[in-house]
Symmetry: C2
Subunit: 404 residues, 2 copies
Amino acid sequence: MAIQVMKFGGTSVANLIRIKNIAKIIESEVKINKNKLVVVVSAMSGVTNRLIEDYKKVRQKITDPEYDVILSTGEQHSAAIISTLLNERKIESRSILGWQIPINTDSNYSKARILEINSDLIKTLLKKYKVLVVAGFQGISKDDRITTLGRGGSDTSAVAIAYSLGLKSCQIYTDVDGIFTSDPRIVKNATKINSITYEEILELASLGSKVLHPRSVELAMKYGIKIHVRSSFKRKTGTMVVKEENKIEKEVVTGITSSENESKITLKGIPDKPGIAAKIFGTLAKININVDMIVQNITDDGKFASLTFTVPIEDEKRAVKELKMSKIKFKNIDSKNSLCKISIVGVGMKSNVGVAKKMFETLALKNINIQVISTSEIKISVLIDLKKKKIALNALHNAYGLQI
Amino acid sequence: MAIQVMKFGGTSVANLIRIKNIAKIIESEVKINKNKLVVVVSAMSGVTNRLIEDYKKVRQKITDPEYDVILSTGEQHSAAIISTLLNERKIESRSILGWQIPINTDSNYSKARILEINSDLIKTLLKKYKVLVVAGFQGISKDDRITTLGRGGSDTSAVAIAYSLGLKSCQIYTDVDGIFTSDPRIVKNATKINSITYEEILELASLGSKVLHPRSVELAMKYGIKIHVRSSFKRKTGTMVVKEENKIEKEVVTGITSSENESKITLKGIPDKPGIAAKIFGTLAKININVDMIVQNITDDGKFASLTFTVPIEDEKRAVKELKMSKIKFKNIDSKNSLCKISIVGVGMKSNVGVAKKMFETLALKNINIQVISTSEIKISVLIDLKKKKIALNALHNAYGLQI
């Protein structure tokens, strides 16, 4: 008897037709492949948002544990409905909730982190049932109260349960065929990536590609759990998320992604003294604003510097206001949005020269002006005019040969 | 510090306006009367029906424990919303679910019975919180699975919790002012009853007056818990449900009620032998049909009897079919609906003669034909033509002086 962990997201359980579809996938795993299954499910799509709305009509503060009590009903409902359908089809099944397993978490209500999963009950119940349907996204605090894991938490539930059962892999079913080299709605030639490393997908995810929740990937990376991201509509191999050493083809660039959530703020005429950057970013950190790309220049006379950085678009006004009100000295401040951050990601970059050069050349050929550049070991990001997004993505996609 | 148990039904928590209304009641109990509260809530009105629908789209059999997992989300949601609102208004509160208390029940999923409530956690939490909002209608089986108590189960939760806390009473808030001498929509002179015995309300409830769930009354009767049925819209005394010895005014007739759910079946020409009634009713019991009123007559020659009884209207056809197919001998069978059962209820009947006589006389004066009569210690029921319902109810209401 092999145990498999499969996770189905909100769109896979959106309505009865879709639930019947995943029941077929489950049925074939049970009857043909003779596997015992732990199926982790999200709430039906739209339900969590509706529950958040219900809560927010009454209170804004989401650290009240009642928020978690309300939100957890979404997965409780979907897990029980799916289990009911399986039972109706004579596949012995039962739902199991976060507190029943238990999935022990810390007490950070609304965004709790899993501390430990006791898999004894799962193992015991799998002797009696063919399928356990786990309500994802939820756990229990040491005070015996329901916790929820924050957005995308069901992915994390699935990976953590796979680990607790000593498994080497887990399947995440979604409404796309896998992870793509770029957004297929913008880049027509975008193709499915067969295998991708944890590091790459983390860069892609934080840059706006939302297939897997970053925390689930971090957890999988930490414990070496292979994640198979695949479609719940087609029975085809999707994308394997693996360790770098398990990735055979180390492409220079694995994927290209874009994000429109950036505002650029430039401070000019800052006295060029040590500690000034710390003051500026400290001021923003205090009001909870996350700074992303940063570029500093020193002017010709060596006395003044200019500093450019990006913040989330919704924080732009707050950031400018706070800096103006602060005691930090500068000659002027200006901000700009309607920008787009384009990033190329690939573990192959580490051992390949000329990757950045090709990016800049490709954009120059299309007459696209680069406003800010930032790099990491496996990523190069540039900030460009939003209007040029589509041209840039397609040109880069071709330049790095991702259309194959 | 006094502890009070208050239960709010579905219509009292139907929407945010109503929830804010009950928050005011709670607030005044906490701030003015300095009470600590255990508030038991139902699901918002309509929610349980919607959840049953969700389930029944997938499966009809409701003994699958998943049914309870789904239905219990309704009270989980309303308890958490109410607790959130109280917290927002600085009334320290938390929700508490069946499994958290725990409310231990048997494993009759969808209609579990409470076995035991451990009130230690409630007592401990009441030191920290001013209000605990209990999700009614739910418990936990010995297998650590969620159970639900069946329709009206939240009333039962409230009474059982009051008992477990050693309290002598509990308040049930509803959308009416209390229990009435008759249905005010039909009998204009109907008045609120100030006090009523458990026995009387059980007769009234099972006869179609649905203010309190019979099981909650049985429980309250067993443990001597006084129930105060009152309006969540008006701050006025409602109806006290008490032991017979605590009821000072023992009216001959406390209330008059009607039910339209009866079909009359008559079997003629049955051989008058011992055991024949047992055969007839055994046949119906086997297919789960509840027989209510029964009258047997023997014909003049003493050899044949006729038997008349009532069954729920929805079972009429099944009952007739089953009897025709059985081996029971009779000359003919006929059935009739468009009937109405009128019942007068009152503990005072026991020590008063002439109660029945007045009923029959009153109906005769109005030219209303009585088709079947049945009586218990504190109740007389008659079956009449449905068309005469309003006339009968009003005439009897006046005859017994209930309009005061």
